[in-house]
C-alpha cells in the first residue's frame, strides 16, 4: 500500500470515528439538557427559604429533573407529596441535625472538577468549607449539631485505576479540630491492638459529639466499630456491618448486611442490630439496599433505592414487620428537622 493510499484511509477513518465520537457527545449533551427541564408528573418545586431549625420538615436532595435538580429542598414531614421548597444550594450528599447541615458538593473548575465539604447553618449559609480528596459518599451530623463527619471515595492513580479506598474525616465544630483520616485512630480488634495496611473506615453515625459508630474494613471483612474522638480509638463490636445508622434512642443500629447467596452486584440487605443483645433483625425490605439509612423515628427507617430519577426514598419498619413503602420519589440524602 503506498503512502497516499494509507493517508486517504487514515483521513477517512478520522472523519468516521470523529463523527461517531461527536455524535455520541451531542447525544449525551441533549440528554443532559433534558434533565434541566421539568418533567410532567414530577413533584412541583419552587424556590423559597429552607430552614434547618423549622420543626417537622423533611430536608433532602431533590433528584427530580428541572431547574432545581440536585438542590436541597424541604417538604412538610406530614405531606411529603406536596410542593417542594428549593434552597438553591446544590449538594451530592447532605445531612442535618439541630440546625447544622453538612453538604458535600462538586465544584466545577476550568480543567477539572473538585469536591468540597461545606458546613451550613440553619439558614443554609456556609460556615466552613474543606477540600475533599475524592468523590463524596456519606455525610452525617451529630445529634447536637456540634460535630460532622464525611466519607469520600479515593481511587489510586494506577493504570485503569483499580485500587479504591475510602477516607473518613470528623470535624469538631466547637474547637474546629479536623481529624482528617479515621484510619489514624487506634483500632482495637476484640480488644487487641490491630494494624493493617488495607484498613478502610466509612459511614460514621454519631451517638453524641464524641462517640460514634462506623464501619471498618480489613482483610476482606467488615466490622461495626464504636469510636471515641477523645481517646482516638475504634473498637470492634460486630462483624458484617456496613453504613451503620444509630437509632434516636441509641439502642439499635440499622445497617447494610452482606448476605450469602446474593448476586455480587446486589449483596446487601437492610438489617437492624440490637446493640445490647447483638441480635440481628432483617427488615421487610427484600431488595438490595446500598445506603446509610436514616431513622424517621424510633420505629421507622428511611433509605434510598434506585428510581426513575436516580433515587427514591422508601420507608420500612425497623422491627422486621410490614412492608416497605415508597415515601418520596426523586429524592436522596434525607434529614428531619427539629429533631435533636
Amino acid at each position: 500500500m503506498n503512502r497516499t493510499k494509507r493517508l486517504v484511509i487514515l483521513f477517512a477513518a478520522v472523519l468516521l470515528l470523529g463523527g461517531v465520537a461527536l455524535g455520541a457527545t451531542l447525544h449525551a449533551a441533549g440528554r443532559a439538557a433534558e434533565k434541566d427541564r421539568t418533567q410532567a408528573g414530577s413533584p412541583p418545586v419552587r424556590s423559597g427559604e429552607v430552614g434547618l431549625d423549622t420543626p417537622g420538615r423533611e430536608v433532602f436532595r431533590n433528584m427530580a429533573w428541572g431547574p432545581h435538580r440536585d438542590e436541597i429542598v424541604s417538604v412538610p414531614a406530614g405531606g411529603p407529596d406536596g410542593p417542594r421548597t428549593a434552597s438553591g444550594v446544590k449538594c451530592l450528599r447532605f445531612h442535618a441535625a439541630s440546625g447544622t447541615g453538612i453538604c458535600l458538593q462538586a465544584v466545577h473548575g476550568k480543567l477539572r472538577d473538585t469536591y468540597r465539604a461545606v458546613v451550613l447553618d440553619a439558614k443554609l449559609h456556609e460556615l466552613h468549607r474543606y477540600d475533599l480528596a475524592g468523590i463524596p459518599t456519606r455525610a452525617r451530623v451529630a445529634p447536637d449539631g456540634r460535630a460532622v463527619a464525611w466519607t469520600v471515595f479515593v481511587s489510586g492513580d494506577s493504570y485503569a485505576g483499580t485500587a479504591f479506598s475510602t477516607r473518613t474525616s470528623v470535624l469538631d465544630l466547637h474547637t474546629g479540630t479536623l481529624d482528617r483520616n479515621l484510619e489514624d485512630y487506634r483500632l482495637l480488634m476484640d480488644d487487641r491492638p490491630y494494624k493493617a495496611p488495607d484498613l478502610n473506615v466509612w459511614g460514621v453515625t454519631f451517638a453524641d459529639d464524641d462517640r460514634f459508630y462506623a464501619t471498618v474494613a480489613t482483610g476482606g471483612r467488615t466490622y461495626l466499630v464504636s469510636g471515641d474522638r477523645r481517646t482516638r480509638t475504634l473498637r470492634t463490636v460486630h462483624t458484617n456491618v456496613e453504613c451503620p445508622s444509630l437509632s434516636p434512642d441509641g439502642t439499635r443500629v440499622a445497617y447494610k448486611k452482606r448476605v450469602q447467596g446474593a448476586s455480587p452486584d446486589a449483596p446487601w440487605r437492610l438489617y437492624v442490630l440490637d446493640l445490647r443483645t447483638l441480635r440481628e433483625t432483617a427488615t421487610a425490605e427484600q431488595r438490595n439496599v446500598d445506603d446509610q439509612a436514616v431513622w424517621q423515628d424510633d420505629r421507622t427507617l428511611l433509605y434510598s433505592l434506585p428510581g426513575n430519577y436516580g433515587s427514591d426514598l422508601w420507608t420500612v419498619s425497623a422491627d422486621g414487620s410490614g412492608h416497605s413503602r415508597r415515601a418520596l420519589p426523586a429524592a436522596l440524602a434525607p434529614a428531619l428537622t427539629g429533631r435533636r
Binding site: 434533565k35 480543567l111 468523590i135 485503569a160 455480587p264
Partner: protein, 427 residues
Amino acid sequence: MYLADSRATPAPGTAGGGTSPVRRAAVVPGTVLALGTVSLITDISSEMVTAVLPLYLVAGLGLSPLGFGLLDGVYNGVSALVRFAGGRLSDRREGGHKTVAVIGYGLSALCKPLLLVAHGVPLIGAVLAADRTGKGLRTAPRDAMISLASEPAGRGRAFGVHRAMDTAGALLGPLLAFLVLRAAAEGYDAVFTVSGCVAALGVLVLLLFVPGRTGAAAPVRQTAAERAPLRALLQQPEVRRLTCCAVLLGLTTVSDSFLYLTLQRRLDLSESWFPLLPLGTAAAFLLLAVPFGAIADRFGRRRLFVCGHLALLTAYGLLVAPAGSSVVLVCPVLVLHGSFYAATDGVLAAATADAVPEAVRGSGLAVVQTGQAAARFVCSIGFGAAWTAWGDRTALGATAAGLAVSAAVSALLLRTPSPDTLPESAS
C-alpha cells in the same frame, strides 16, 4: 557533569564535528514516531477511561465499591505471565512483533465499547482485566520494534521520544474526558464511546504506518533460545545482570501512589492538591525523556539507569529529612520523580535491547520488564505493611536505605562491559 562525561566517552558513531548531533537530531526513525503516535493516541483513550471510572461507578452506576478493588492481587501475577507470553509469541516469526502488538492494542480498544454494556462490578472488573491483558501483551513487542527500528547509537533517544509521546497522551486523556463531561453532564457513555473511537484510531495508525518487518531481515530460526527462552535468556550474563538490577532496584521503588501519599502527609498538603501531584511527575517525565535518552546514548544507558535511581533516592531523602516539611519541597520532589522515570523507563528498554540478540528481543525485554514490575509489586505490599507498622517516615527511610544499597550493587554489576563491546548484529 553529564556534558563533560559525554565528551570524554563518545558513543560509537557520534565522535566528530559539531554538526553531527544536529544532523542526528533530525532522524528519529519513522517507525519510532509512528509507534509513539500509536502510544500517544492509545494513552489518551485509556486515561480518559481511568479518569472518569471512579466517578462513573459512584455517580453514574450508583455502586459503592467501598474498600475493595476491581482487580485483585491475583491479577498481578496473571498480568506478569501475559507480558512474558507477549514477548515470547512476538519473537516466533517474522513480523510477529507487529502482529502481537496489533492484538494487544486491538483487545484494549475493544474493551472501551464493552464498558458501555458492563453495568456491574464483576463485569467491569472483567473488562478492565481484558484491557490490561492487552496492555501486557503489547508492551514487549512494541519496545522490541522501537529497538529494532532505531540505530543502536541513538536507541536511548528513540525510546525517550516514544516515552515522551506516551506521557503526553496520558496527560491529554483526562483533559479530553473532562471536556466531554463538560459538554454533556454525566455523559459517561459518551466518554467511553469517544475513548473507543480514539483507541480504534490508534490501532489503525499501527496497522497503516508501522512496518511489519523491522530491523535486520535475518531469518529467525528455531534456536535453543526459542525452545526454552527464559532459561536461555537468563544464561546470558548481560541479561542476567540487567534483570537482577531491575529486580533489585524495583524492590526498593515505592509505588507512585505511596510516594504522593507520603508527600501529602509530610508536607501537609491540602486535599485538593492531591490529584495534581501525578501531573507534576508526568510533566517532568514528558520534558526530560528525550534529553535524558540522548544523554543515555552518550553517557552510557546503564550508567544513566543507575543515576536515575539516585534522583529517586534524593526525592526520598527530601521527604525523610527533618527539614522536609516546607511546601516549597513539592516542586523538587516531583521534578526528581519525573527525572527518575525519564532516566530509567525508556533507558532500561534501550539498555536491554543492547544486551539481547534480535531474534529474542521481545522475550528479553519482557523478562526484564516483568521482573521489574513484579519487584515493584512486592515493594508496594512490603511498603504498605512497613507504613502501617512504623509510620510513613520510617518506612520511607528504610526504603531509601535499601535503594542506596541496591543502587550501589547495580552500579557494580552494570559497570562492565561498555556498550560498544556488546553483541550487536549489523543492521
